[in-house]
């Protein structure tokens, strides 16, 4: 690509650019289908069978089944599309966002009420903020999963 991608050095952040959009095309189109009540019902009745109707990679299907949004994003998912999965599960944006940080819903909510995540240390990869790779996972939920 001829244009610079200056956004790759922002920690814990994936910019939904052409490459991601290509990678995640079918994953995101699957998400989009969940805007219809009928499709949500079919997905819930048999997730695997519904996923198999889409030209997604096996890994993308696994990431959806695991409801691992960070994994979905690595595979080209975009948060606005992925939100339809959360909606199908009856989850709010806040619950979804919490799940990506390894925090419980309560921990995440408290962080937000306290003014949100600070930008200090979280601007550029290699600083020492709480979104940096070496500080993951951040919360109790993540630690539980880590074991």
């Amino acid at each position: 690509m001829a244009l610079d991608k200056p956004y790759q050095d922002v920690p814990g952040t994936t910019i939904f650019d052409a490459e991601q959009s290509r990678l995640g095309y079918h994953l995101n189109q699957f998400c989009m289908s969940l805007m219809k009540a009928e499709n949500r019902a079919r997905f819930k009745a048999n997730e695997r069978a519904y996923l198999d109707e889409w030209l997604m990679t096996e890994e993308q299907k696994q990431a959806v089944l695991a409801r691992d949004l960070n994994w979905c994003i690595r595979l080209g998912g975009n948060i606005y599309f992925l939100a339809k999965i959360g909606a199908t599960d009856g989850k709010s944006f806040q619950q979804m966002a919490g799940s990506m940080t390894g925090m419980t819903e309560e921990e995440y909510r408290d962080m937000m009420i306290a003014g949100g995540r600070s930008v200090e240390g979280n601007r550029v990869v290699g600083e020492d903020g709480n979104a940096q790779a070496h500080r993951q996972p951040q919360g109790k939920a993540g630690r539980k999963e880590a074991h």
Partner: protein, 280 residues
């Protein structure tokens, strides 16, 4: 001649719509958010325009990755609130203003803005939440609305400068419409927030505050800000703020009167910012 009388800027968090629809506005958490709009609802009752030109972004609702327009103008007579996955919001149908929309399309396309013309489009929370915040829960919205969708989801997204200049072209278009309509332009989205990845929850109060100051005082300079600064400082979804520059660009060159200013953290994942600027 039609004229732009004022501009309104506000975040459009879906959880705000949910809180309204589920009757949670009295809860202390939400009370703090909604209190910032008490003034605004009264202001809008006192200053109801003939048309609202509402700039927002579609959140994977009307546009799938099959086709993503940079700028799309709604020219239809009405727009249905969308089912975004939670079921449609229980809000009134949005009535459009096809004549003014077509006129604006004609004028700004002549001015080298390559709009996508939309004759049918479901509208999502990006459009209906600002209306709810400003109008409460009426049986019908107070006036016709022209939806204007901007791609801030799939990169490349338009630059702040392009958005600001588009606002100026819209100003010119409105001024050349020969009905005496009062038009408000609303810029929605932002302020700092990030919904994705380990940096989710990012908020930058100081930066937001400076953004509001500069938006009021020197928007042309603010429009020079690069994408990367939005992302780094205001979070990956903070890029939505470029849409505020469209509304600001549509205001006259005279310094505006600041009718109202409000800022609160958080509403769900987002720093809520809100401004009302009147043309002087």
């Amino acid at each position: 001649m039609a004229r732009i009388t004022a501009s309104v800027y506000t975040s459009h968090v879906p959880a705000i719509g949910a809180a309204l629809d589920l009757g949670k506005t009295g809860e202390p958490y939400w009370q703090k958010v909604f209190s910032g709009y008490d003034f605004s609802r009264q202001w809008l009752r006192d200053n109801t325009p003939d048309v609202i030109f509402l700039v927002y972004n579609d959140h994977a609702t009307a546009f799938s990755l099959e086709m993503i327009p940079t700028f799309a103008i709604g020219c239809a007579a009405e727009f249905q609130p969308a089912d975004e996955g939670w079921g449609p919001r229980p809000v009134p149908v949005v009535k459009g203003h096809p004549e003014l929309a077509a006129h604006i399309a004609q004028s700004v396309i002549q001015d080298d803005f390559d709009l996508t013309i939309v004759n049918r489009m479901p509208v999502d929370h990006g459009l209906t939440v600002p209306l709810s915040l400003m109008c409460g829960q009426p049986a019908a919205w107070p006036c016709p609305v022209i939806p204007f969708a901007v791609n801030v989801v799939q990169y490349p997204v338009p630059s702040g400068r392009r958005c600001y200049n588009l606002g100026r072209a819209i100003r010119k278009a409105v001024a050349s419409y020969d009905q005496p309509l009062k038009v408000q332009i609303w810029g929605t989205g932002g302020m700092s927030h990030q919904l994705q990845g380990p940096r989710a929850g990012l908020i930058n109060r100081e930066w937001d505050s400076a953004f509001l100051d500069r938006l009021i005082a020197d928007p042309a300079d603010l429009a020079q800000m690069s994408h990367i600064e939005y992302v780094r400082e205001a979070g990956s979804e903070g890029i939505e703020l470029v849409m505020w520059l469209i509304a600001r660009g549509a205001m006259s060159d005279n310094p505006p009167r600041v009718a109202h200013r409000f800022y609160h953290v958080p509403a769900s994942n987002t720093a809520v910012g809100h401004l009302i600027l009147e043309n002087t």
